[in-house]
Amino acid sequence: MNERQYMKKQRLISVAAVIALAAGSAVAVAPASNAAAKTVTIAYQGPLTGEEAQVGIDELNGVKYAVKLFNAKNKGKFNVRIVEIDDQGSGTEAAKVAPGAASNKKILGIVGPAYSGATIASLPFYKQTNLPLISPSATRVSITDPAQGLIGFPVFHRIPVTDRVQGPALYKLATRGVSSPKVFVIDDQSPYGVGLVEYMKLGGATLAGQDSVPDKTTDWSATISKVKSASANVVIFTGYYAQAATLFRQLRDSGYTGVLAGGDGVLSPGILTLASASILEGVRLTGGTVPLAEISAKLEADFKAKMGVSSGTYAAESIDAANIFLSCISKGVNTRAAMLKCVKAYKGKSITGSALSFDKYGDTAGGVMNGFEIKGGAIKYTGAVK
């Protein structure tokens, strides 16, 4: 129960360019004959029930959206089905559901798993059966790190850039324009939060102080006292938005006036419901992604029209991941081996317009980190962190 391995990650964009949308609006192009439509199966794996369900459901919607467009476009040629694999975002559950997916030979590829812990627990089964994975949100560095035992190689791929990039970027963004910054970092003891701090330090960050708090902490008085004793003027929280909201509130209420910053775990519209605009004003955030609406309003409108709900976190990554599989399917791939080869060789464009391909170990080549700021009760994109 209650596994919290969530690598809540949103990433993406550089600028808006809407390739997929063009395809999306060209529904009518498909040839008329649907007699020989070939059914192909891909899967989505992530938390669809349980505490983390919202993340999985949002991602699944992205996958469904991409498939819907594809099926419409290839009417008569292909009919892509999606198998839903619910791992509740937990390693223990994933170890139970992964064998089934691995042995279901119809599945040619999986979008997912959403969370890193679940990914690591599932991987032995997928590696065994050569089942290609493209995760929209599992960002733990170790999965693709050759120095840490090639956990994911060769089947694992992911769209988001890892915390190896994000750590230093977050530090850079948080200290931007601060003369003589004294940085205090707080992590939430999750693999994500701890890792982000680690890579921040590896990237050369100098810290005035640090604290590590259990992931259900709501009383921050001790941490705040530490921030004050360190006379910090930049506070970075590497954890998730719900806790960030309570921390930021209590920091501001205690009279702290410096910079507040957080990583992509905090970059969620959810934070706006947990603290008032005045408290969140000026909070700096990093993320590899932006919401679909930031790419283009038209894209978001189309998504809402087709799916009946607004796009959620990781929508862009999920669409990208699905699109890679779909482009391979359209090339006639019909085995896992061929799919893996095709994914590895894939060179194309993200829904955001930037180039998309994978390196040898499954990471996206040349991803960037973007900066955001909360202004007037909304999260605003402020450009790539360079």
């Binding site: 919202q54 009383d219 008085s221 001790a222 530490k226 419901t273 947990l274």
Partner: protein, 316 residues
């Protein structure tokens, strides 16, 4: 580090005290029930959680506050806070009675083994938490700010913030009222009688079921008040906050001597301070470890907690 600690000591103390009072009130929920039934009311943590939601519902839905609203002031503020307190207390009190009826009464009347009610309570606790999880889509729920967190001045270098002061003062009032209630009222006396000796109390003509319900109600009311204070201080909640707070409060009750109202009071405050100091000194990640090591030491030398057992011993 030491000089820093001295600088921050006063503000840590204020923060620890107000956290401590939240623990005290939840611990009272555990201790009242334990005193009478000699049983860990495991689901009290969820009673607390529902209390926090009651407060948020009043703020958000009854008064229409949003994250963008201006905090209330003056008489309206007092009125709103009072209503929130009543709502949480009622919610938790009623839930607590319901809990006893569903999870415990049958078992109690049959005189089952000691662990059956515990598992039944664990089951109830899962049901209540899951029900709320489904209602809230597993999300955290934020409370809009109803009260500006004004500083009322400083005290030995510590800022006295309005919310902390309210919690400490109101917590103290509630605790004293509870002690008076247990000492003076008929129900309170009956509760004490049952906690001393169930059979004797029966012989004296005490209606046992009524007294047990009354105990759960009183414990629930206190726990509900804690829910209100929690929201006032931290301004959010979620379906899974009960567990951690519940364990902490239960630890507090044990530390002071479970079954003893005075024990819950000192245990709660001691735990609030201990957690805060330990977090500062040793790092927040070792907070829980420190608390348990202290607990082991205390119990090793005083096996019944600092103040021993039984509601009967309350002379606060």
């Amino acid at each position: 580090m030491l000089s820093n600690f001295q600088d921050q000591f006063a503000s840590l103390t204020v923060g620890g005290l107000s956290l401590g009072f939240i623990y005290v009130l939840i611990a009272l929920g555990y201790t009242m029930v334990y005193g009478v039934l000699r049983m860990i009311n495991f689901a009290n943590s969820e009673v607390f959680m529902y209390g926090t939601f009651a407060t948020i519902i009043v703020i958000r839905d009854l008064f229409g506050f949003t994250q963008q609203s201006e905090p209330a002031t003056g008489f309206r503020l007092v009125y709103i806070l009072f209503l929130c307190l009543i709502a949480s207390m009622l919610m938790s009190g009623i839930l607590s009675i319901f809990l006893e009826l569903v999870a415990y009464r049958r078992l109690r009347n049959r005189g089952s083994n000691k662990l059956a009610p515990l598992i039944s309570a664990i089951g109830m606790s899962i049901v209540l938490a899951e029900f709320m999880r489904i209602l809230t889509d597993s999300r955290y729920v934020g409370s809009p700010r109803v009260m500006e967190k004004k500083s009322l001045g400083t005290f030995f270098g510590a800022e006295l913030r309005l919310d902390n002061v309210i919690i400490i003062v109101a917590g103290l009032i509630l605790f004293v009222s509870l002690s008076q209630f247990v000492q003076r009222t008929r129900l309170g006396k009956a509760i004490r009688a049952v906690s001393m000796n169930e059979d004797a109390a029966k012989l004296m003509g005490v209606n046992l079921n009524f007294v047990v319900s009354g105990t759960f109600l009183v414990g629930g009311l206190m726990t509900g008040a804690a829910g209100f204070f929690y929201v006032l201080k931290y301004e959010n909640t979620s379906f899974n906050i009960g567990f951690e707070l519940g364990i902490a409060a239960f630890t507090a009750a044990i530390l002071g001597g479970i079954g003893n109202i005075k024990g819950a009071f000192y245990g709660g405050i001691a735990l609030g301070l201990l957690e805060t100091y330990a977090s500062f000194f040793l790092g927040t990640q070792w907070k829980a470890v420190t608390v348990f090591i202290v607990l082991v030491f205390v119990l090793y030398f005083r096996p019944n907690g600092v103040f021993g057992e039984a509601i009967t011993q309350t002379r606060a």
